[in-house]
């Protein structure tokens, strides 16, 4: 499996990256861990005449746990997330989700920036970032701008990021209540048949706020406001969970593939959401 030939660049700073992107336009692409991009290039499903490796660009690998938010650099790997002690207490759901991505080898290489920028509906971080109401930070020729994760995904591999922009970091507001990331997959290292990210706030036995996002059940991650609304104000009992499941099923649009027919995916999506809600609630 030999990819098409390309010119390789390894700039030392963001200025170098941006000037290469400006020069080569949509013939150029940045590469982080390469564990989504290289397989696509090997299959010749991605054609990248100018490949810009981000590994030497400084300032993209920091994790900052602040008092009201967490900032994660684009080049932070899944493995960095799993081993970071500050994150383990400030945002354990990141670790819970990262441990369900791929396998150890892939997690050493795969980055948060690559996972969220890729735009593959199978990626786990985009749904999680929608649940946590993250903001993505982009830089381009005209400076920097911020895009909410919930507005970032347009269609499979189509995002709000322009070709000549680079994602530099992700900011997550301080977590509230209980959380869970629940994923059904055929085997370790597989993308989700269905996955759910849930955040719930419990005030005296009543759900005061909820946030629910689903992975790999449409051509983008799905933030389900209707499912959240079905939980808020309830005691998260069986009927509230069933209502949230039904509301979520109204928002997703899975298609048949080698993970199963549509009816099966909807069935799994419901069960996974129920498990995620129950686990998040038990921690809220």
């Amino acid at each position: 499996m030999i990819p098409a030939a390309f010119e390789y660049y390894r700039p030392k700073d963001m200025e170098g990256v941006l000037s290469l992107l400006a020069e080569h336009g949509d013939e150029a692409r940045v590469m982080a861990g390469g564990h989504s991009l290289i397989p696509m290039m090997k299959l010749r499903m991605a054609d990248v005449p100018h490949l810009i490796d981000l590994q030497d660009v400084g300032g993209l690998s920091d994790i900052e746990v602040g008092t009201d938010s967490i900032r994660i650099g684009a080049m932070v790997t899944q493995s960095d997330i799993i081993t970071h002690e500050g994150l383990a207490t400030a945002a354990p759901i990141l670790r819970e989700a990262a441990l369900q991505i791929a396998d150890p080898q892939v997690r050493y290489m795969g980055t948060v920036g690559g996972n969220v920028a890729n735009g593959d509906p199978g990626n786990d971080m985009p749904g999680l970032m929608q649940c946590l109401d993250a903001t993505f930070h982009l830089i381009g020729a005209d400076g920097t701008r911020d895009v909410p994760a919930r507005d970032f995904y347009e269609a499979a591999y189509m995002t709000a990021r322009e070709d000549e922009e680079v994602l530099t970091a992700v900011t997550i507001p301080l977590l509230k209540g209980g959380h869970a990331y629940e994923k059904q997959k055929r085997k370790i290292g597989d993308y989700a048949t269905a996955a759910a990210a849930v955040q719930i706030v419990n005030e005296g036995g009543t759900c005061a706020a909820a946030s629910i996002a689903m992975t790999n059940l449409s051509d983008t991650p799905i933030y389900s406001q209707a499912a959240c609304d079905a939980l808020v104000g309830t005691s998260v009992d069986d009927s509230a969970i069933k209502a949230a499941m039904a509301a979520m099923l109204g928002d997703i649009d899975p298609s048949e593939d080698n993970r199963g027919p549509v009816a099966f995916k909807k069935h799994v999506a419901g069960i996974i959401l129920r498990r995620a809600i129950e686990r998040a609630w038990s921690r809220a």
């Binding site: 030939a5 090997k42 290489m109």
Partner: protein, 164 residues
């Protein structure tokens, strides 16, 4: 003709310099250019782990890295872990506990296991299965691979205690 790049790698402690196209996959560099044939090609699609090497303290599937990315890197393959005259405890344990049958997955398994034991010196069975999940074996059913890694972990911990 695509442009070639000047590449420098350190492989198993030895410096290598050559010209290569950036798109060359590291597994081919190792096997075909440098004649280091321990790392195997099982799937070539990032799934099986037969091609696993250690780069800068990470277990990496060398079929999923361009040689250009590895330029300047320090790489260890199974050849750098131990040889017939100085078997690494993991190699010894795989031999003793039937951790291999056809042996095709074994270089990747052992290379990955060296890193796992660095991170978790005395792993539980569950930790071994989870930590080795990026390496597939078509023969053994994994039972004896787990046993071999446990045996090596015990051996390595005992040796470390004795040394202290």
């Amino acid at each position: 003709m695509p442009k070639k790049m000047h590449i420098t790698l350190t492989v198993n402690g030895k410096e290598e310099e050559f010209l290569a196209e950036p798109r060359e996959l590291l597994i081919y560099t190792l096997r075909e250019r440098l004649n280091i044939t321990g790392p195997h090609i099982g799937c070539e699609t990032s799934h099986c782990g037969a091609c696993t090497v250690t780069i800068g303290g990470k277990s990496v599937k060398s079929c999923t890295m361009f040689v250009a990315q590895a330029d300047g890197a320090d790489i260890t393959t199974i050849e750098g872990i131990g040889g017939p005259d100085n078997l690494h405890p993991l190699q010894e344990a795989f031999k003793e506990h039937h951790g291999l049958q056809c042996g095709y997955c074994t270089p990747g398994m052992i290379t990955r296991a060296t890193k796992l034991l660095e991170e978790i010196p005395n792993p539980t069975e569950e930790e071994i299965r989870f930590g080795m999940a990026g390496n597939l074996c078509r023969c053994t059913g994994y039972q004896n691979i787990v046993k071999s890694i446990q045996a090596a972990a015990a051996e390595m911990s005992a040796a470390k205690e004795a040394a202290e």
